[in-house]
Symmetry: C2
Subunit: 251 residues, 2 copies
């Protein structure tokens, strides 16, 4: 069986169910490349000292490795342990899809995710969010679809969760100030810098920092290191506005 | 301190952090009215036998009660324990807002939520979801905004998560077949019944059932009792399509 396990972002986020399945697994692949984790992932070994434990790089869970991992799961309990919730990022969809094709049983054990936290942590209403986006570094092309999505959400009165580029194997992690600069440069309609926004640094970590202000203001605060993300808000309702002002005062 | 704690939907979903804070609280209010829980919420008493434990109805956490609960949290650790993640439903925003106004310290401890699970459990891509909606019973008015949101999301190639009306204190919980009937009746443009959709019954529970098919087909399957929800999908990409067909075969 292939068991996809959401780890959340710290050992504190482990659910009883995740601990159970990690304990039962014969082989545990830890995804070390899609997201950052507050605690050392090495600690997870203690939950099951008899399991084969692989601190997996991308090449160990993607591409040619997929067939091998799925085959291994035919007769063993193979855990794919992922920071956050397993399929919020699309990284492991190919493994799931191959398991289905090969008729190998699978399970999904949910964890706390950034989506979850961003939608519920800061006092904005979850049903007022539109499509979310990831802002990538404009190395090969300008990420114009990101700005189009923000415009489109704003035109419907919806907030936008903007996840920021995280390429762990290249040691690249976009910060809020970098993101603000990229967004303001892409903003061909003008005025996006004035939009009320929230910067989320290390959300759910012990040293998380949440700052609110105009998008352009967010570039001026200091934050603990990434992972960072951003929310560009649309018109705020009275309760949202009140909580927004609270975060503004924290910075 | 006021500590909002997400419980997930079963005792298996409790995080270490949630267990910790439930153990430290002086008073624990269990929200029994916004969502259904797989296990008996009474079991939570075992995590902290010395705490004052309130199986709270709506009137104990809303309206006039808010000031009293926040005042109690000024000198005690008061936990508001909520199925799912604390603020995905907007039910407890007023408590948070009052705590901020009164200068009473607060924390949010995240749990697994329906949003999380629906976006990551069924193999659709989370960044392809538009605004989510709740479909309510058309008792006083036709919930036309729900259908408008689905149309709007479809026109942008986005999936819609449709949460279904749950009024626990009135013993009302909308089922997938009821929802399909209401949506098809509201569908003034026509053709919504043909849209590929996914029915989610008791997602994350031991007896969960996930069915895929045309919206109209979903009314014909049998499900365990609510909570239920629905996803109306837009155009599916190849990987989404493959996993969709897997769920179709489960029904």
């Amino acid at each position: 069986m292939l068991v996809f396990i959401g780890l959340g972002y710290s050992l504190r986020h482990l659910t009883r169910e995740a601990i159970d399945w990690l304990g039962k697994a014969d082989v545990i692949y830890i995804d070390t490349y899609t997201s950052l984790y507050e605690d050392s992932l090495e600690n997870l070994r203690n939950l099951n000292p008899r399991a084969v434990f692989v601190m997996a790089k991308r090449r160990e869970l993607e591409g040619e490795a997929i067939g091998r991992v799925v085959e291994e799961a035919r007769h063993k309990t193979v855990a794919i342990a992922v920071p956050g919730d397993p399929f919020i990022a699309t990284t492991h969809d190919a493994l799931l899809s191959e398991a289905i094709k090969q008729g190998v049983e699978f399970r999904v054990i949910h964890g706390v995710s950034i989506l979850n936290m961003a939608y519920s942590r800061v006092g904005l209403q979850s049903y007022r969010f539109g499509k979310m986006v990831t802002l990538v570094y404009p190395t090969h092309f300008k990420p114009l679809s990101t700005i189009e999505t923000i415009y489109d959400n704003l035109s419907r009165g919806l907030h936008t969760l903007v996840l920021l580029d995280l390429r762990i194997e290249e040691s690249l992690a976009m910060s809020i100030p970098e993101a603000v600069q990229i967004l303001v440069e892409l903003d061909y309609k003008g005025g996006l810098g004035e939009q009320l926004s929230i910067g989320l640094a290390r959300l759910g970590w012990r040293d998380e920092k949440i700052c609110a202000g105009r998008l352009i203001d967010l570039a001026g605060y200091s934050y603990p290191p990434p992972p960072h993300s951003l929310i560009v808000t649309s018109r705020l309702d009275p309760v949202e506005k009140e909580i927004f002002e609270y975060w503004r005062r924290q910075c």
